[in-house]
C-alpha cells in the first residue's frame, strides 16, 4: 500500500449535452440567416477537430444587423417600459443558469479552457451579470448618473476569444439594461457560445433585433466599429486593435470603451501569507492558460524570500494537471489557437535568448491540439521582452525588489495599467501600495476575482471605461462618463 501514487482516473464531462450543428448562420433581427462572406471553421483547440462551420458577416450583412438593431431600438426596446426590459434580462439570466452545463461544455470545446473553469467561473458569472443588470433597468434614475439618463442607441460590440460567453455578458447585459440594442461580433475562433446565446434570446422571446450576432474575423469587426449608424463601440481585445478602433472612431460622435491588454505585477512582500500567495501567483498566471488580460504575468518578489517562493511555486506548479479540457480534474487546458501558441513560443524563446532562465515542470502533453506547459522564467530583468510584452499565455516572469518604493516603481514601469496584486499581512502597506499603483483593479491578498458589481477596466494603454457596477452603466448612457 505504501508509496502508492494517487492517480485520478479520467473524469470527462459528457459532451453529449451539446448538439453542434454542421453549420451556423448569423443571428440578425431574431432569425438565423446566411452570411455572404466566406465561412470560417471553428476548431476544438484540444484536438484540432473541426467543430462546425460558421458564417462570415460581410459589410452588407453587418449593415443589415445594424439596421435591425436601429429598428428595434426605435420601435420596441427604446420605448419599452424599463421594468419589462429588466424582466427580459432576468429571463435570460435564468435560461443561462438552466442551460449552464450545455454552455460550459460548449465553451470548453470551442475555447480549450478547463471545464472546471467554464463550469465554475465563466458561466455562473455570465448569468450573474445578467441578473445584476436586470435590476438596474428600471432604476437608472437612481444610479447617480444624472436625471432621466437616456440610452445611446445601437451598440457595436467586439469581444475576444479568452472568455467568449463571459465577455458577451459583460457587453450585452449593461447595453440592454440601459435601453440600447446591440450588434455583437464574437471572436473568430470562439463563436459557438454566442450563437447558443442567440438561441437563448429566442427562447426568452426577446424582441427581434435587440440582440444581433455577426460572426467573422477582423474585417467583420471593422465593419461593426466603422458603421455610420453605430452610436457606441465597446471593445475588449488587444491594445493594438484598440488603438486602431480609437483611430477609426476619431471625429465621430461614437462613444467608446476599450478594455485592452495588460502586464500586471503581482507583488509579494516578505511578510506575505506565503501559501496563499503561491496560490495567488498560480491563479494569477495559469487561470485560463494565462489567456487573461489582467493576468499576473510579472511576479515581483521581495529579494529576501525569492528562493523560498520560487521553490514553493515550482512544487505547486508540479501538481497542476494539464490536458483534456473536458476532464473535470484538468487545471490547464489547451491554448486557444495555433496562432496564439506560436506567439507564446516565440516570446518564450526570446526570453531564453535574452538570458532569462526557463523552468517547466515535467508534464506529458497530448499529441494533437495546441498545448504549452506552465512556464516560469527567473532571472528576468525589466528590459527583457517577457517582462514588457503581453504573452497572453501560461508564462510567468519573475523579477525581484528590495523596498516598497522599488516594488511600486517596477510595477508601474509598463505602458499598461489594468491590474496588480499585493501580498502582505500589513494592512497599512496594502493601502499605501494600492494607492501608488497605476492600475484599474488591485487585488490584495487575492487575485483574478471578478464580480458584476465591481468595476473593471484599465489605466494607461490598458484602455478606458469600466465594465461592471454603476460605473459600467455610464458607458451606455448619454452624457455621463463616470
Amino acid at each position: 500500500m505504501s508509496s502508492s501514487v494517487f492517480e485520478y482516473a479520467p473524469a470527462p464531462e459528457s459532451r453529449s449535452i451539446v448538439d453542434i450543428a454542421p453549420s451556423y448562420g448569423l443571428f440578425v433581427d431574431g432569425e438565423f440567416v446566411d452570411g455572404t462572406g466566406e465561412p470560417l471553421k471553428s476548431v476544438n483547440p484540444a484536438t484540432e477537430e473541426v467543430l462546425t462551420e460558421v458564417a462570415t458577416a460581410s459589410e452588407a450583412d453587418v449593415d443589415r444587423a445594424v439596421r435591425a438593431a436601429r429598428r428595434a431600438f426605435d420601435k420596441v426596446w427604446g420605448p419599452m417600459r424599463p421594468a419589462d426590459r429588466g424582466k427580459y434580462l432576468f429571463r435570460i439570466a435564468r435560461l443561462l443558469q438552466e442551460r449552464a452545463r450545455e454552455f460550459a461544455v460548449l465553451e470548453s470545446l470551442d475555447n480549450g479552457k478547463p471545464i472546471r473553469e467554464s463550469r465554475d467561473v465563466d458561466v455562473p458569472l455570465a448569468a450573474a451579470h445578467f441578473f445584476y443588470h436586470a435590476g438596474w433597468a428600471d432604476k437608472l434614475d437612481h444610479a447617480g448618473l444624472g436625471p432621466a439618463p437616456r440610452p445611446l442607441g445601437v451598440a457595436g460590440q467586439v469581444i475576444p476569444w479568452n472568455f467568449p460567453l463571459l465577455m458577451l455578458a459583460w457587453k450585452v447585459a449593461p447595453a440592454l439594461a440601459t435601453g440600447n440594442t446591440v450588434v455583437l461580433k464574437p471572436a473568430e475562433t470562439t463563436p459557438l457560445t454566442a450563437l447558443l446565446f442567440a438561441e437563448v434570446c429566442r427562447r426568452a422571446d426577446l424582441p427581434p433585433g435587440v440582440v444581433n450576432i455577426v460572426t467573422g474575423a477582423g474585417e467583420t469587426g471593422r465593419a461593426v466599429v466603422e458603421h455610420g449608424d453605430v452610436d457606441k463601440v465597446a471593445f475588449t481585445g488587444s491594445t493594438e486593435v484598440g488603438k486602431s478602433i480609437a483611430r477609426a472612431v476619431a471625429g465621430t460622435r461614437k462613444k467608446v470603451t476599450l478594455e485592452l491588454g495588460g502586464k500586471a505585477a503581482n507583488i509579494v512582500f516578505d511578510d506575505a501569507p506565503i501559501d496563499q500567495a503561491v496560490e495567488g501567483i498560480v491563479q494569477g498566471i495559469f487561470f485560463n492558460q494565462g489567456h487573461v488580460c489582467c493576468a499576473g504575468s510579472r511576479l515581483l518578489v521581495q529579494e529576501s524570500i525569492h528562493d523560498e517562493v520560487i521553490a514553493s511555486l515550482q512544487r505547486r506548479i508540479g501538481t497542476l494537471r494539464v490536458g483534456d479540457p473536458l476532464d473535470k480534474n484538468t487545471d490547464i487546458g489547451a491554448i486557444n489557437s495555433a496562432e496564439q501558441l506560436a506567439r507564446i513560443r516565440e516570446l518564450s524563446d526570446i526570453g531564453e535568448a535574452e538570458g532569462a532562465e526557463r523552468w517547466q515542470p515535467a508534464c506529458d502533453l497530448p499529441e494533437r491540439g495546441f498545448w504549452f506547459p506552465p512556464t516560469v522564467f527567473t532571472n528576468v530583468s525589466p528590459a527583457h521582452r517577457i517582462a514588457r510584452d503581453e504573452v497572453f499565455g501560461p508564462v510567468l516572469s519573475v523579477l525581484t525588489f528590495r523596498t516598497p518604493d522599488e516594488a511600486v516603481a517596477k510595477a508601474n514601469n509598463t505602458t499598461y495599467g489594468l491590474s496588480a496584486g499585493i501580498w502582505t499581512e500589513k494592512g497599512s502597506r496594502i493601502l499605501k501600495i494600492a494607492n501608488q499603483l497605476r492600475a484599474g483593479v488591485i487585488w490584495a491578498n487575492t487575485f483574478n476575482k471578478f464580480d458584476p458589481t465591481s468595476p473593471f477596466g484599465g489605466y494607461k494603454q490598458s484602455g478606458y471605461g469600466r465594465e461592471g457596477g454603476r460605473h459600467g452603466l455610464a458607458a451606455y448612457l448619454k452624457g455621463h462618463d463616470a
Binding site: 480609437a246 476619431a250 494600492a434 492600475a439 490584495a444 487575492t446 476575482k449 465591481s454 468595476p455
Partner: protein, 289 residues
C-alpha cells in the same frame, strides 16, 4: 497725477513649471484687441516648450495627486481669492480681448472666479459621489474610488478667454491631474494674468502650465506625446480635432472631444468635465480572521 506719463508695458511670457520663461524658440506674435488694435506681443510656444511643460506637469503630478482632497480644495479656493484682488485687471483684459462691454466683461470675470469656488468645493466630494463599496458575492471587501488620470493637455476655448479657460482648467485641477494648457491663440492675455494669479496663490509650480500660441501647431505635439494621459480638444482649431484624436489614439489617451460650437460657459457644467479625467480604481481584499 499727470496724464502724460509714459505707461510701463507688460511683457507676456509663458508659464511653465512655476516660472515665466520666454519661448525657447524666441518667437512672439502680435496680440490685438477685438478691433484689431495692438495690445502686446505674446510668446509663441514651440514644440520644445510643450515638451518642457509636459515634463513639469509630470513631475508635479505625484505630489498634487497625493495632496489631500481637502487641501486641494483650499488651494483652488485661494485661486479665487487672489483673482478677486485682480478683478479690475481681468475685466479690462477680457473686455479688450473679447470686445465685451464692461458689464459683460465683469459678468464673465465674476463667473470665472465663482467657477473656481465651485470646483474648490468638489475636490472632497468626488470620491463619495463617484466611488463606493461594491457588494461582491464573496468574502471580500471591494471598493472603487476615482483617481486622477495624470497629465492632461488642454486646448482651451478660442473665444472665451477667461471664463472658458477656467472652465476647462479648474476641473482638471480639482480631480488631481496636472495640466498643460494651450490658451486661446488670439486672446491669450487674460490667461497670462491668470498665470500670475496661479504663481502667487498656493498652486504648486508645474501643476498648471500655460502656453500661449497656436493650438494647431502645439495640438499635434501634445496629442502624440506619450507622456500625456489625456487631451481636452475643446479649443482645437476647426477641422483639426479629428486628426488630434487619431494621434491621441497612439497611446490610448483619454480624449474629450470638442463641442460642435463653443458652449455657453455660464451653464452648470455638472461632472462632465471631471469624469473624463478620472480613472476608477477598484481594490479587493479578503474578509477573514
Amino acid at each position: 497725477m499727470s496724464s502724460d506719463r509714459l505707461a510701463v508695458r507688460k511683457t507676456y511670457k509663458l508659464y511653465v513649471n512655476g516660472a515665466f520663461p520666454r519661448s525657447e524658440s524666441g518667437r512672439t506674435y502680435e496680440v490685438t484687441d477685438a478691433k484689431g488694435h495692438f495690445l502686446a506681443n505674446a510668446a509663441r510656444a514651440s514644440r520644445k516648450d510643450a515638451r518642457d511643460a509636459v515634463v513639469a506637469a509630470r513631475a508635479a503630478f505625484r505630489k498634487w495627486s497625493g495632496t489631500t482632497a481637502y487641501n486641494r480644495g483650499q488651494v483652488l479656493y485661494r485661486v479665487a481669492e487672489v483673482m478677486e484682488g485682480r478683478h479690475v485687471q481681468f475685466c479690462e483684459e477680457v473686455a479688450q480681448s473679447e470686445g465685451l462691454s464692461s458689464s459683460k466683461a465683469r459678468a464673465a470675470v465674476d463667473a470665472a472666479i465663482d467657477r473656481w469656488v465651485w470646483y474648490a468645493g468638489w475636490t472632497d466630494k468626488l470620491a463619495a459621489v463617484l466611488g463606493g463599496a461594491n457588494p461582491v458575492a464573496g468574502p471580500y471587501f471591494d471598493f472603487s474610488m476615482p483617481e486622477p488620470t495624470g497629465v492632461v493637455a488642454v486646448l482651451a476655448p478660442q473665444q472665451s478667454s477667461l471664463l472658458g479657460l477656467v472652465s476647462v482648467l479648474a476641473p482638471v485641477l480639482a480631480t488631481g491631474s496636472t495640466a498643460v494648457v494651450v490658451t486661446s491663440k488670439e486672446r491669450p492675455l487674460p490667461a497670462i494674468t491668470l498665470a500670475e494669479v496661479l504663481a502667487t496663490s498656493d498652486v504648486p509650480g508645474g501643476v498648471v502650465n500655460l502656453l500661449t500660441g497656436d493650438a494647431e501647431e502645439l495640438g499635434t505635439w501634445l496629442a502624440e506625446h506619450a507622456d500625456v494621459d489625456a487631451i481636452d480638444l475643446t479649443g482645437a482649431p476647426a477641422g483639426r480635432a479629428m486628426e488630434f484624436e487619431r494621434e491621441a489614439a497612439g497611446t490610448v489617451k483619454r480624449v474629450l472631444r470638442p463641442p460642435a460650437t463653443e458652449p455657453d460657459w455660464t451653464a452648470d457644467p455638472g461632472l462632465s468635465r471631471m469624469t473624463p479625467f478620472l480613472e476608477t480604481k477598484t481594490v479587493w481584499h479578503p474578509i477573514g480572521v
